[in-house]
């Protein structure tokens, strides 16, 4: 039995041993495979998986940086940041969210509708996410919440900052901020890293154009989260970078005076330094409260603003398009003189109308001005005289001069809402309307009617460039960081000291100026005519003059026709105030001051104001006084800044 067993055992052992060897070989292969896989994951692809693991575990909450401040020229804050009081809740840390909300409703002002929306919002979010119940509590609400905080578990009173505008006078120039809309996200690339809840971005004006730099760079809170997304601990924190502060060229006190002067009318005022192009004031009326947009404007208020006849949301200074009216006569005259078409001694008889190819063109003065020369024609704003000048000049030459002086193109780069306007010529008409120009249109264009469209800022620039002796200036509203070499001012100073030098040569070679004239005498002639219009009896704005030399200004009125008078109206000598408001002419006034040694140019538009002399010139008069009064302070400020920088 043993022997049988032993032979059996031997054969079995042999088989088992052989097969076990084979198995061990297979095992070795498997071990190598597992090792290889382990090495490939942990050594070759380690970096890839580490980043995946970090992506799993870290979540970042961005923190909104404080927005940059906008100051006026003197460092007064126009748009600043204010402390605001907010209420946040975290559903996770409250025993009963519904009870909490009901309790909150009794403490702060929460409408049923808002409550309903909040509940929906909370239901959509994770229970540990924060929901903003109110982002702008009043101080009394905030202190009441703090008083009852012990019974409001889960509610967090938070102090934060938000945009604040000190008054409404610069609402259009500065613009306003509001919540980011889906459209903003699509169109503004820089918003992609700053998509933070509660961040407001600039929507119009400087707030919009300087938005990217004023936003600053966001900080972050980095949390470690678990697989369910719950925050485990805070890993890192970064406060971000405060947005850049910008100084503008605006003067807050002039803004206030201009706003006051435009009270109760719809219109715009622009004031510009004629040498360096600084925009001293830019006001559009009626204005709005930009603060009401910061926390979301309510529907009724928005409706009121958008449906208002006077369009308070429109920045009329840069986006309002109006025919320039008689203010263009300065350029019509200049263009004719520069092109040697007429001389100032051209005399034309105004009978109140003129006929051309069977069409009758009326002067604003029905009785006519009689025989007058160019100076008187500008002074009295005679239409018939300029019909004749325009007829001889031709539209294309007039258009060229108008474009040279800044019409038909945007003046600033800071306003996306700015309009370029229209300077019509034969080519333009053929392209835009597809018809040939005819001579009657030239006549209308010569007095700033017809196809001509301009903005108040354009006419302000035009006046400034006439007033400074005919040199091109580059207007600005934001004070650049780079020190600006004011060569035109230097040139003017130099000329005062050396009255005998040849202006043009100096201009070209020493001061790198761009003259807009061929003969500066022509510019001086127009300036003198404008002086006459304001300061000599019979001038269109004689009624609004200053006798004090310090404030004395020279200006040109204008009125842009909305609707042509019918023959009956003309016959009856209908007054503007007698026709429907929306059919009344827009009133213009452009001027520079002081007459002797001019420094500032102003343009005033009053929508449906009737006539420039009665509606626009008085506004300009008030503003000019303030501008001149502020001149010394402004110069001092400029010098101080300059010495600081050097």
């Amino acid at each position: 039995m043993l022997s049988f067993h032993s032979s059996n055992i031997v054969s079995k052992t042999k088989t088992i041993g052989r097969r076990m060897f084979l198995l061990s070989t297979i095992k070795a292969v498997v071990v190598v495979g597992i090792f290889g896989r382990l090495a490939s994951l942990q050594i070759n692809d380690s970096r890839k998986y580490t980043s995946l693991a970090d992506k799993n575990r870290f979540r970042e909450t961005k923190i909104a940086p404080p927005r940059g401040i906008i100051e006026d020229y003197f460092g007064n804050e126009i748009a600043s940041n204010n402390k605001i009081y907010q209420l946040h809740i975290v559903p996770d840390s409250t025993p009963n969210i519904d009870v909490l909300l009901v309790r909150l409703k009794s403490i702060i002002n929460l409408s049923d509708k808002r409550l309903f929306l909040l509940k929906k919002q909370i239901a959509r979010k994770k229970s540990w996410d924060t929901t903003i119940i109110s982002d702008n509590l009043t101080w009394s609400e905030f202190s009441r919440i703090n008083l009852f905080l012990h019974e409001l578990q889960g509610a967090q009173p938070i102090v934060s900052v938000a945009r604040h505008y000190n008054d409404n006078s610069s609402a259009h120039a500065i613009g306003y901020v509001s919540e980011i809309s889906p459209r903003d996200l699509r169109t503004k690339k820089y918003l992609q890293d700053i998509k933070i809840e509660g961040v407001a971005i600039g929507k119009t004006g400087l707030e919009s154009s300087l938005d990217e730099q004023m936003l600053g760079s966001p900080g972050y809170l980095r949390y470690e989260v678990n697989a369910y997304g719950k925050k485990v601990k805070q890993v890192a924190m970064n406060d971000g970078l405060k947005g850049k502060t910008f100084r503008t060229t605006l003067d807050q006190s002039i803004q206030n005076v201009a706003t006051e002067a435009l009270k109760n009318v719809s219109g715009a005022v622009c004031v510009m330094d004629i040498y360096n192009g600084d925009i001293i004031s830019m006001v559009s009326s009626p204005n709005f409260d930009p603060n009401s947009f910061v926390h979301g404007v309510d529907k009724d208020e928005w409706k009121k603003l958008t449906e208002n006849r006077d369009k308070p949301m429109l920045n009329k200074a840069v986006s309002g398009l109006y025919p320039p009216g008689s203010t263009i006569k300065t350029l019509t005259a200049l263009s004719a003189l520069e092109n040697d078409i007429v001389s100032p001694r051209l005399f034309v008889e105004c009978k109140g109308y003129t006929d051309l190819h069977g069409e009758r063109f009326h002067c604003w003065k029905k009785k006519g001005h009689g025989v007058l020369g160019m100076r008187s024609a500008i002074k009295k704003s005679c239409d018939v005289y300029f019909y004749e000048v325009a007829r001889r000049l031709g539209i294309d030459r007039l258009a060229a001069t108008a474009k040279k002086f800044g019409l038909g193109q945007k003046v600033l780069t800071n306003f996306k809402e700015e309009k370029a306007g229209t300077v019509p010529d034969t080519k333009w008409k053929l392209n835009q309307i597809g018809k040939n120009w005819y001579i009657g249109e030239t006549l209308h264009s010569g007095i700033g009617q017809g196809y001509f469209l301009s903005t108040p800022i354009q006419l302000c620039l035009m006046t400034a460039q006439l007033a400074n002796g005919g040199f091109k200036i580059k207007p600005r509203i934001v004070v650049n960081d780079k020190k600006k070499v004011n060569s035109l001012q230097e040139y003017v100073d130099y000329k005062k000291e050396n009255p005998n030098s040849t202006a043009v040569d100096l201009a070209r070679f020493n001061f790198n100026l761009q003259p807009l004239f061929r003969n500066q005498e022509n510019i001086n002639f127009v300036k003198d005519a404008m002086f006459a219009a304001s300061n000599e009896p019979g001038g269109t704005s004689y009624g609004s003059r200053y006798d004090n030399k310090k404030f004395m200004f020279a200006g040109k009125t204008g009125s842009s026709q909305i609707k042509r008078f019918t023959a009956e109206q003309r016959e009856a000598e209908t007054k503007q105030s007698e026709i429907a408001y929306l059919e009344r002419d827009h009133a213009w006034f452009v001027a520079f001051a002081p007459v002797k040694d001019p420094k500032y140019a102003i343009s005033v538009l009053v929508e449906h104001g009737g006539s420039g002399s009665s509606a626009a010139a008085p506004v300009a008069k008030k503003v000019i006084k303030k501008v001149i009064e502020r001149h010394k302070i402004r110069v001092a400020q400029a010098n101080q800044k300059e010495s600081q920088e050097t």
Partner: protein
């Protein structure tokens, strides 16, 4: 070696028995056990909670059991293997009627102290039974049809019982354990070839009986990125955890994937992932080395033991042990579909640990009584 190989007589005194233990194997197991306690501690988020505590206690208890089993004469285990096997079959049947149900499957019997999972024990039971069976029959009978019938029945009955619990992973492991012993015993290649063909033929039908979650697991394995938040989640997160461990690991208790709950089943099937994330490639290599040492020592014991039962059992167990380890690791490394196979000793689970320590105890018994002839 700590013991002498010269002793030819059967040891009887406890002192002698200690003398005959394979200390390389013993210390490998002990080291693995200690590592497992640390791993479970880390898996519980760095505290001794219910899981880590009971795992530590179990390891201590079962390590004593392991020693106790190894001091019982190998002849006893040979004689009682049929009885053990039949008891386990009865337990599996009992599970069908009195089993504790959890997560859609009925796998456990409530023993008041803990829930016993007989299918885990069956992994050892089938090896024990088949070793005994092939020990008894003569080498000439191995390939006779009549003698093939018993092993086939012995494998299919527990396989079907476990499969219908349902527990596909364990059922496959039981079947594999059985097949290994059968094959080692000398059953012809041809028969395995036929069986493989049969399995391929039956596979489509079998797949139609699979539960939806089992099907999705296989599909997910083939392309884990197809459903990254659903069924593929486990594989992806496991690979991220292991890969991010790098060469040196993130350090003990610093495995972010595990700590922040990105890792599923981190106490049980994915414990190696956790370990690998915290100890990196070097730590993982060391663990593979430990498992290799254990398998290797078992084979050495099989080589030196004289009885066929002992040889078949040791070889069978070492291979099965290797398969469990290989399947679990391949699974967490994304080389195999997720089938629910624990990693021996390291994974949390009383029955699995009991089965492994019991099985290792019998191996050690082979070593202690290696010169004993079995009738």
């Amino acid at each position: 070696m700590l013991y002498t190989r010269t002793s030819l007589h059967t040891p009887f005194a406890i002192r002698d028995k200690f003398f005959h233990l394979d200390y390389t194997l013993l210390f490998s197991i002990l080291l693995l056990g200690i590592i497992s306690i640390f791993a479970q501690f880390s898996s519980s988020g760095g505290q001794f909670d219910y899981f880590s505590k009971s795992h530590a206690i179990r390891f201590c208890v079962f390590f004593i059991l392991f020693l106790a089993v190894s001091f019982v004469n190998i002849r006893f285990w040979n004689d009682y293997s049929l009885l053990i096997f039949i008891s386990l079959i009865l337990l599996l049947i009992a599970v069908k009627f009195f089993g504790v149900q959890s997560q859609g499957s009925r796998r456990w019997i409530n023993l008041f102290v803990f829930n016993l999972q007989p299918s885990e024990l069956m992994k050892i039971g089938i090896i024990l039974f088949l070793s005994n069976y092939y020990h008894k029959i003569s080498s000439g009978d191995v390939n006779k049809f009549r003698y093939l019938l018993y092993p086939v029945i012995a494998m299919l009955v527990p396989f079907m019982l476990v499969l219908t619990q349902p527990d596909l992973g364990t059922a496959i492991l039981i079947l594999l354990s059985g097949l290994v012993v059968t094959w080692l015993a000398g059953v012809r290649w041809k028969i395995f070839a036929y069986l493989t063909l049969l399995a391929i033929a039956v596979a489509p039908i079998a797949i139609s009986f699979l539960k939806p979650y089992q099907k999705s697991r296989i599909l997910t394995f083939l392309n884990p990125d197809s459903d990254p938040l659903g069924a593929g989640y486990q594989i992806i997160q496991s690979k991220i955890a292991i890969g991010s461990g790098g060469l040196f690991g993130k350090g003990f208790l610093n495995g972010s994937q595990a700590y922040l709950n990105f890792l599923p089943e981190k106490h049980t099937d994915f414990i190696f992932t956790l370990y690998s994330e915290e100890f990196g490639f070097l730590g993982s290599a060391f663990m593979i080395f430990l498992y290799f040492m254990i398998t290797y020592r078992i084979i050495v014991i099989g080589n030196t033991t004289r009885s066929i039962f002992g040889k078949l059992y040791c070889y069978g167990f070492s291979t099965a042990f290797f398969i469990y380890v290989a399947i679990n690791m391949s699974m967490v490394l994304g080389l195999l579909p997720i089938v629910g196979a624990p990693l021996p000793i390291l994974s949390y689970g009383g029955s699995s640990m009991l089965a492994m320590m019991f099985g290792l105890g019998i191996v050690m018994s082979c070593n202690v009584y290696k010169n004993n002839a079995i009738g």
